[in-house]
């Protein structure tokens, strides 16, 4: 990029242009909209579809929408959907097979890669996408469907103006300000009767799109206003997680009694894995028609919380809910680091909000950390309780 100033301003009145320009370039614009009492991600036909004037209240097992007293377009945190819905779709047909006598013919389904523009990607979500990139693109094998969807995606990030009740991106170093991975990044400012977006350009594609919008360079005061937004969000985190030595902490504590404690609460409903932006597990389903001539293989989202997930001849390896919760949490926070070089958690808080019993991953880590020393003392007195003889 040249020596253009880094920040620009897009007035709220001109926001619709952004969607128009993206549509003109052939993108299907997807972003937040209100539906069924939540803010979900879906196709946007205009800026009017955005949740203007809405905010969310989130806590363990709780999610409610509330009206704001302003008309902010992005005045909420994240909802039950994440961008994996588009990049790593829940249901995909992999191939079709036909049988003709002995002959078997298998044809891979073409990779349909619609051009999508993601509008309103939060910093934690940018990190989550980068994390899934490592799983699907940067390993020994490349998931080519994911790769083409990913390469085609145009990303408009939004720097959070308000943290959610279960957010802890600060603890995970994933936000609240987006630092990379976007084509454009917006900070929404509502101040002194004005409503505008500070725009940061991340890539050439982003610059190309911006060029077609009514925009101007940002004034210093406007940049400072945006910085105030970023700074205030940092202070609003609803949760925190101490990640010091967390991998080894969990590796040391596979037998910690806290797992029994959380297992007594966990319903193994798999909500957490469905809402988590980095959970990537899938299963395959082979289906056939009645005539037995045509078969298909479908790939679907799966969860390590199901009994079937670890089934091998004879039974499941992880038969107890305790082992399955332990698997999920240890994978997310510890083994993921050995597998992919980063944590699997971005601190978005979805698993806390959408858990029907409000299990809080930050609390679980804390409990293990705090009582670790207590447990090793207890082990020495294992089994022996003395009593009066008789």
């Amino acid at each position: 990029m040249s020596d253009d100033p880094c920040n620009f301003v897009l007035e709220r009145d001109n926001f619709q242009q952004l969607l128009d320009v993206l549509a003109k370039h052939g993108y299907r614009v997807v972003g937040p909209t209100v539906r069924d009492g939540a803010i979900v991600y879906d196709t946007l036909s205009s800026a009017a579809d955005l949740p203007a004037g809405w905010t969310d209240e989130q806590n363990g097992g709780t999610y409610r929408l509330r009206r704001r007293d302003d008309q902010a377009l992005f005045g909420y945190a994240v909802g039950p959907h994440s961008w994996k819905k588009f990049l790593h779709p829940p249901v995909v047909r992999l191939w079709q097979a036909t049988r003709d006598g002995n002959r078997l013919d298998i044809r891979e389904d073409p990779h349909e890669s619609p051009k999508m523009a993601f509008l309103g990607v939060r910093s934690c979500e940018l990190h989550a996408i980068a994390i899934q990139d490592r799983v699907f693109i940067q390993g020994q094998h490349v998931e080519s469907r994911y790769k083409s969807r990913r390469e085609q995606a145009f990303i408009v990030a939004v720097n959070c103006g308000q943290a959610g009740g279960t957010c802890f991106c600060v603890s995970m170093n994933t936000g609240p300000k987006a630092t990379s991975g976007f084509d454009l990044a917006l900070t929404e400012v509502l101040e002194d009767g004005r409503h505008y977006f500070l725009v940061e350009v991340g890539t050439e594609s982003g610059a190309d799109v911006l060029r077609e919008l009514s925009h101007r360079s940002a004034a210093k005061a406007e940049e400072e206003a945006a910085e105030r937004v970023h700074a205030s969000t940092v202070q609003q985190m609803g949760r925190k997680m101490d990640t010091v030595d967390i991998k080894d902490l969990l590796y040391r504590n596979y037998e910690h009694p806290r797992w029994d404690n959380v297992a007594s609460r966990c319903l193994t409903c798999a909500n957490c894995t469905m809402v988590c932006p980095t959970c990537f597990c899938t299963t395959v389903e082979d289906v056939t028609d009645l005539k037995g001539e045509h078969a298909e293989r479908w790939q679907k989202w799966d969860s390590c919380f199901t009994m079937d997930f670890s089934y091998i001849h004879g039974g499941s390896i992880r038969a107890t809910p305790k082992s399955r919760y332990r698997q999920w949490m240890t994978h997310k926070l510890a083994t993921w680091i050995d597998q992919f070089g980063t944590s699997g958690c971005v601190g978005c808080g979805r698993c806390i909000t959408w858990c029907p019993v409000g299990i809080d991953i930050t609390e679980e880590v804390d409990a293990i950390r705090k009582s670790e020393s207590e447990t090793s003392a207890a082990k020495e007195n294992h089994g022996n309780t003395t009593e009066n003889p008789g």
Binding site: R99, L104, V135, C281, T283, V284, D286, F309, S310, S323
Partner: protein, 289 residues
């Protein structure tokens, strides 16, 4: 000459795309025991060379039913055809067993890590197999026998439930006749006509001839059997760096995307199924991991 395949070669030779099964044809199918059969496949895509390393597996697809991970049980050097030994325990494996000559099935692979045949050169080799565990080890035996002079003493310890469950009976005889490897077979329960050893496979270790300071041990079988075998090998003086085992977990994609085969931080499909014991020793002791 046997060449170690690169990742590219594996995906090219074994499958045009690791996610899409390629059609192979059943040339021969023979039942070894009541529930286990061996079949030989040839490629329908004109592939004359299928490169794989001993211990690797393929995903075998039966039309309309499903896919299962099965270790390759044939000789790596004889790569024109693919040989698998399968135990019929579920819908897909039973369906594989009812395929007739000329039938097609889908093959993706090869996947996974391999037995340390290279590492064992110049050393004694102890192969301990339990039940169907002999199948993924047979390619090692072929490799070792093909270059017998490169290895020290070689012994195969093989245990099954009953004499009727013994695999590759004719081959075991042929190997015995060679005189350059020690073969000890045992069963848990004998019938009327069995005059061989009776007892769990770990009891054979006392009779095996090898130098624990200069041996590579390869163990494959049910996890409980491997657990006790490792203990016996250690009490014979073997170090954890010289023992290799084969782990098994639920597998769907075999390429590290579906998450099913995770074992601690490892993916059985990529980091395994064969592991050097010291690398997963800490995981082995954890239940339901």
């Amino acid at each position: 000459m046997f060449m170690k395949p690169t990742v590219e070669e594996q995906t090219v030779h074994g499958s045009l795309h690791p996610m899409v099964p390629q059609p192979w044809c059943v040339r021969r199918l023979r039942w070894e025991t009541e529930d286990t059969f061996t079949f030989e496949l040839t490629s329908e895509n004109g592939l004359t060379k299928f490169c794989f390393l001993p211990g690797q597996f393929n995903m075998l697809y039966v039309f309309g039913i499903g896919e299962v991970p099965i270790s390759i049980s044939g000789a790596p050097a004889k790569a024109g055809s693919l040989v698998h030994t399968v135990r019929a325990v579920g819908a897909a494996t039973r369906a594989l067993g009812s395929l007739k000559r000329g039938a097609h099935l889908g093959v993706r692979g090869p996947f996974g890590s391999s037995w340390p045949v290279e590492e064992a050169t110049g050393k004694d080799v102890v192969i301990v197999a339990g039940g169907i565990g002999l199948a993924p080890l047979r390619p090692v035996i072929y490799e070792v026998l093909a270059k017998r002079q490169r290895f020290g003493r070689v012994c195969l310890l093989y245990g099954t439930r009953t004499p009727d469950d013994i695999l590759y009976i004719k081959e075991l005889e042929k190997w015995r006749e060679r005189g350059d490897l020690q073969i000890l077979v045992t069963v848990d329960r004998a019938g009327q006509n069995w005059t061989g050893n009776v007892g769990v496979v770990t009891t054979l270790l006392a009779k095996a001839q090898f130098d624990p300071d200069n041996t590579v041990a390869m163990v494959c079988g049910p996890e409980v059997m491997m657990r006790f075998t490792i203990r016996e090998l250690q009490s014979r003086g073997m170090g954890v760096n010289d023992i290799y085992i084969s782990m098994e977990r639920n597998m769907k994609c075999a390429v590290g995307f579906c998450g099913h085969c995770q074992y601690g931080p490892t993916f059985i499909c990529k980091d395994g199924p064969i592991f050097r014991y010291d690398r997963i020793q800490h995981l082995f002791a954890i239940r339901e991991i």
